[in-house]
Amino acid sequence: MNISIQDRLVDFLQSVTGQQSINTTTDLIDSGLLDSLTMMDLLVFVESELHLRIDVQDITPELFKNPSTIAELIFNRLPQLKRAG
């Protein structure tokens, strides 16, 4: 489950930035790959495709460092959503 979220994120980020070189550990912030417009795209993607609204406290540099950390964040939040039904 975790792996496929990661893959989908990598695919999405590759297509949204036009950079095919992005992998699971590519730094997204210092590299400038994520800017405010692509961040919005990412949040909208997670909400509409993964049905998860990312909260205030979760939008931090540590959690958005690379596709792997973002996948981790999403995976940790999803079961809660499922439980809430």
Partner: protein
């Protein structure tokens, strides 16, 4: 306090490889008004010398005082001047993200008598190349981190900024040298870059920057002890105006938040006891919807400002009420006017209509006129034009476009507006199709031209539309060439993503057989916009 060398070691002076075979003659004997005979460099040095021990800039890692900033700027200036081919008036590209280094380099170039050409670190290489050739910039100032993602610059000759010890000539007299620039000389060129079409360079003189900064200081009632939280990119006019208006007052700039992580803005505002904050409408939306902004009190805050697009009136009111007694300023302007042209006095915000931009800033005159430049009756729609010391000197290398925008010393803003009997100005729309996407200027026609060049199509129409929760975005409608192999929507999307700046990438692409026409037999763009929503 970190030593100056720590930050300057992050800067690189790169030789562009461009050979300049003419020097742009900027004729300062033209009959233009200057508000002062001092240059930006003079004012900066004066202020920094007066405030040497006061904090100038804080990041998450360190705080610099004005002494460090002044020293750094002088070192950069001296290094530029140490190159025999570098002369006053030469353009220097500044390719550095918001940081202490950016500010030191900006004033360093100014002190050397150069013209700053600030650009986003992620400028597309095609645009960067065009701007390099157009400005004939001999030097680019950047950082190793930016170069990591810019293969085209990695192989150019570069040098680090030398330590004070290595410089025999550095001594007290450096600060007493007469200014190499005068108020009518160019100080900076701000390019509106895009992948298609020619990037236009707005030429701003020392006088432009100084007059706008002083006018802004006046109507915002800025004090020397301001602590502005700076998140806007300094390479755009709005961010630059925050930089200039505060540095020239000797204020303490806080650079400890990232627009990517909006909650960091809320935290920084209180952590650094910030007195002010400026942002574009999209960021205020995000603050209201995705952060703890509405639940937080900001005891040190004196003002917040918005510009670079329209914020829905009810949101302006929400913010106004929430931050009270701190004041919320709705503002209007454009790069061609240095930055600011008008503002809404906060006490009037509730009673004025949606789209109202208030009245002119001190020193500027705003008029609404018809196509012949004649004034019209209150309430009638015409074009907004402006006069003042902040009106740009023109577009770099483009006398034709300049003549289109500046006629008889009036800057034609390209915005349609009304002025009521009390003198309040309301924006009604654009004369041309320019749109603002998250604060960025985008010409739909540039996207259409890109599509025509890149896809096997007969026709392309790009229109803005309101994307739910996100704001204005572009939609692209294309009519494929009948006998060619068509591209799918996802293929076209991928090509756009790889080649265009994000703000120009259409969020919606649709293949059509024909386009709806209106009663004037022209493509009904409004219908296409509505269709997308």
């Amino acid at each position: 306090m970190h030593s100056t060398t720590d930050y300057l070691s992050k800067l690189l002076l790169i030789k562009s490889g461009i050979t300049s075979n003419w020097d742009y003659q900027f004729n300062s004997t033209e009959h233009l008004k200057s508000t002062s005979s001092l240059s930006l460099g003079d004012l900066f040095c004066e202020m920094a010398t007066r405030q040497v021990d006061q904090p100038a800039i804080s990041t998450s890692a360190a705080t610099w005082n004005y002494r460090s900033l002044l020293t750094a700027a002088h070192r950069i200036s001296d290094q530029l001047k140490s190159h025999p081919e570098y002369e006053s008036g030469h353009r220097v590209i500044l390719l550095v993200p918001n940081s202490i280094e950016y500010i030191a380099a900006f004033y360093g170039i100014i002190l050397s008598g150069g013209v700053v050409v600030p650009l986003p670190a992620n400028t597309e290489s095609g645009s960067l190349q065009k701007i390099l050739e157009s400005t004939e910039a001999l030097y680019i100032i950047s950082t190793p981190q930016v170069l990591k993602r810019r293969p085209e610059l990695k192989n150019l000759q570069s040098e680090t900024i030398r330590n004070a010890d290595e410089f025999q000539e550095i001594n007290q007299t450096t600060t007493e040298e007469p200014s190499l620039s005068y108020s009518d000389h160019l100080a900076a060129i701000f390019f509106t870059a895009g992948s298609s079409g020619r990037p236009k360079g707005v030429m701003l003189s020392h006088s432009n920057l100084i007059s706008n900064a002083q006018s802004i200081q006046e109507y915002l009632e800025l004090k020397a002890d301001e602590r502005p939280l700076c998140v806007l990119p300094f390479h755009h006019a709005f961010g630059n105006s925050v930089l200039q208006s505060h540095i020239l007052l000797g204020s303490h700039l806080i650079l400890d938040a990232n627009t990517l992580f909006p909650e960091s803005i809320v935290k920084a505002l209180n952590h650094h006891q910030c007195t002010s904050f400026s942002a574009v409408p999209d960021l205020y939306r995000i603050l209201l919807e995705r952060t703890s902004f509405q639940k937080t009190v900001f005891p040190s805050l004196r003002s917040m400002t918005v510009a670079g697009g329209k914020l829905p009136h009810h949101l302006s009111l929400d913010i106004s009420q929430h931050i009270s007694p701190a004041r919320f300023f709705v503002m209007y302007g454009q790069t061609e006017a240095t930055a600011r042209l008008a503002y809404v006095p906060p006490e009037h915000i509730a009673e004025l209509p949606d789209g109202c931009i208030g009245h002119a800033i001190p020193g500027v005159t705003l008029e609404v006129v018809d196509e012949k430049g004649r004034s019209i009756e209150p309430g009638a729609v015409g074009e907004l034009r402006a006069r003042g010391a902040n009106v740009m000197r023109g577009y770099w290398g483009d006398a034709t476009e300049t003549r289109e925008r500046i006629r008889n010393d009036w800057l034609y803003t390209g915005d349609l507006a009304t002025k009521d009997e009390a003198g309040w100005i309301t924006i009604k729309g654009r004369r041309n199709a320019l749109v603002k996407i998250s604060g960025h200027r985008v010409h739909p026609i540039d996207l259409e031209e890109f599509a025509m060049r890149s896809f096997p199509i007969l026709q392309a129409v790009a229109v803005p539309f309101e994307s739910k929760d996100v704001g204005t975005r572009l939609a692209l409608y294309v009519k494929p060439t009948p006998n060619d192999n068509p591209l799918s929507v996802s293929e076209m999307n991928a090509i756009c993503r790889t080649n265009l700046p994000r703000q120009m990438v259409p969020d919606h692409i649709q293949i059509v057989e024909s386009f709806p026409l209106n009663h004037a037999m022209k493509i009904d763009r409004a219908k296409l916009s509505l269709n997308t929503e």
